[in-house]
């Protein structure tokens, strides 16, 4: 998932006594794991929070096509080119499912896109980092899709029906992506000295940003409690991050690559890896727009949208002409 900081619009979580009867009934359904469907009553904050979360996720899929698209024309073999094109195409599909899920909440895709272009809504910070070498394509599949899966698998059980169902479809494809990314890394790690260097360099650059994908530490995560009560978030940021580290470190070991964290070590007592501090200043900086690629990503999206305006207008005009001719 790519929604890192979703504003729920509430400062504290209500207990049952503070809820209206409608809210109580709503919460009771969620507690009983009954899915909320588009026509059901829902608290306004729930609806708005979901729109923001799904929208951030959808935009992330679409913007996420760009860093990988950067290597389509330079993929090193025809097979890798085909796999990469198919992957990016999947991501576009994910964006579409998610926009559709958001539209069930009473917003239009065009409005959501306008929010993105105006900077009113974020996409995942991870896509503001550059893909400098082919190894970055491997690292994105392995780490970024890996982190996305970690986040999204629980969301298959999220309380909002259309979102949960979109997640089921998406998760299947994301796990392919992760395997394909890892396979790229495997070839590089077993390759020439230059290829190994590329692989290590990619891990060095993508490791911390991947850990940031789960959002700020729980202690600083003011909106999570409400989202967890509503079951639009099922595990905390830190829990997910820990799971990701635990899963990924042995994979890095297997590749013979070094995770760039001198404090990383297995803690037998906890049964988890301990890891060093994350540079949260960088995270907030990137969210504010100061990542290496924020400007490029948005400019590219806006340009594509504006350059395509006449095409979309023509398609509408043609459809109207057709309809008019049919009616005549």
């Amino acid at each position: 998932m790519y929604a890192q900081m979703v504003d729920t619009g509430v400062r504290s979580v209500k207990d049952a006594a503070a809820m209206t009867p409608e809210e109580q009934a709503f919460q009771a359904r969620i507690d009983a794991d009954v899915k909320v469907e588009p026509k059901d009553w829902m608290p306004e904050h729930y609806r708005r929070t979901l729109i923001r979360q799904i929208q951030q996720h959808a935009h992330s899929e679409i913007v996420g096509m760009l860093p990988e698209g950067n290597w389509v024309t330079r993929a090193p073999t025809l097979k890798r080119k085909a796999i990469l094109m198919a992957k990016i195409q999947d991501e576009g599909g994910h964006g579409l499912y998610l926009y559709s899920a958001a539209e069930t909440l009473g917003v239009s895709r065009d409005d959501l896109i306008a929010d993105l272009h105006a900077g009113r809504v974020k996409y995942s910070s991870i896509f503001n980092y550059p893909t400098l070498t082919w190894a970055d394509i491997g690292a994105i599949g392995w780490l970024v899709d890996g982190a996305a899966i970690m986040n999204q698998v629980p969301l298959q059980r999220t309380s909002y029906g259309p979102y949960a169902r979109a997640m089921v479809r998406i998760c299947k494809e994301e796990s392919f992506h992760q395997r394909q990314g890892y396979e790229i890394m495997m070839h590089l790690a077993q390759g020439t000295p230059e290829q190994k260097r590329m692989a290590q360099d990619a891990l060095d650059r993508w490791w911390q940003p991947s850990l940031m994908m789960f959002g700020p530490p729980d202690a600083d995560s003011v909106h999570s409690a409400q989202s967890m009560q509503w079951k639009i978030k099922l595990l905390s940021n830190d829990e997910l991050r820990q799971r990701f580290v635990d899963q990924t470190v042995p994979q890095a070991d297997y590749l013979g690559l070094t995770v760039p964290d001198p404090q990383l070590r297995w803690n037998a007592e906890r049964g988890h890896y301990d890891f060093g501090p994350i540079d949260w200043r960088e995270f907030y900086d990137v969210l504010k727009g100061n990542g290496p690629c924020n400007r490029d990503r948005i400019r590219t999206r806006v340009k594509a949208w504006e350059d395509g305006a006449w095409v979309r207008e023509a398609a509408v005009a043609h459809a109207e002409k057709r309809a008019a001719r049919k009616a005549a």
């Binding site: 025809l78 094109m85 790229i184 395509g308 095409v311 023509a314």
Partner: protein, 256 residues
């Protein structure tokens, strides 16, 4: 040319044309006018890339019959220079705006479908098999690009002007698709290849019908550029290859 040498050359024409167009479509990834189009256009690119790989695979086998060893798909794609590429000039033309891209696709697709359908009856079983599989995909491509030419041609004033301009500009690259095989070509005689000249009339009919529905004028057949089949390309191919081949050229010993 001995039969296998002509066949190798012919297979590379098919493969290179597919690959170069797939590469062009790859440049659009993430930048289409709407996400649905991004997906659809990547889909066409993926089909063409898959077809190129099948043709290269067979080309490698044919080369092995001639020379004892044959190159694999990546050696063909990444280790040849522009003059060794046999693709049509049409497909190496830059993407331009969406009208240029779709016009190029349309002019190519209508020809490609006819060619593949004809090749499905090739006397060479491998050629026939690959062509039959590819023709199914090409049928969808041909329908999609024709549909877009109609929508843009008969859309707004702006889209009409852009599409007319695109068709006009690319027209001179269409003649090459119908260059007749040299007299005594062993492939045509053996029923392995299709005489391209035979595709001209059905192509004309289909293209004219679509342009008419799109309210676009069919350009007159004036001067036609040629050279791709002989390895003499426009300036655009060299740059396309430089980008595509970068990793294989920079790290020649690496496996990916």
């Amino acid at each position: 040319m001995p039969p296998d040498a002509s066949l190798l050359d012919y297979l590379l024409r098919l493969a290179d044309t597919d690959l170069v167009l797939a590469q062009r479509l790859g440049e659009w990834v993430g930048k289409g006018p709407v996400v649905e189009e991004d997906i659809a256009s990547t889909n066409v690119g993926l089909d063409l890339l898959g077809q190129a790989r099948m043709w290269y695979g067979y080309a490698g086998e044919v080369e092995a019959r001639i020379a004892g060893t044959g190159r694999d798909e990546d050696a063909f794609a990444f280790r040849r220079d522009a003059h060794e590429f046999r693709n049509l000039l049409l497909v190496e033309q830059p993407n331009g705006d969406y009208a240029d891209t779709l016009a190029r696709q349309f002019l190519f697709d209508q020809w490609h479908l006819l060619l593949l359908r004809a090749l499905s009856a090739s006397a060479d079983e491998r050629v026939a098999g690959i062509a039959a599989k590819a023709a199914k995909e090409a049928a969808y491509h041909a329908e999609r690009s024709a549909d877009w030419v109609i929508r843009l041609g008969d859309g707004t004033d702006v889209s009409h002007a852009r599409m007319q301009d695109a068709i006009d500009g690319l027209w001179m690259y269409t003649g090459e698709m119908f260059t007749a095989a040299p007299a005594g070509d062993p492939l045509a005689a053996a029923g392995i290849a299709v005489d391209p000249a035979m595709l001209k009339a059905p192509w004309d009919a289909r293209v004219s019908a679509v342009l008419a529905e799109a309210t676009l004028a069919r350009p007159a057949d004036g001067w036609m550029q040629k050279g791709g089949i002989a390895g003499v390309h426009t300036e655009h191919l060299g740059r396309l290859l430089a980008e595509m081949q970068f990793l294989q050229r920079a790290y020649p010993d690496a496996k990916w």
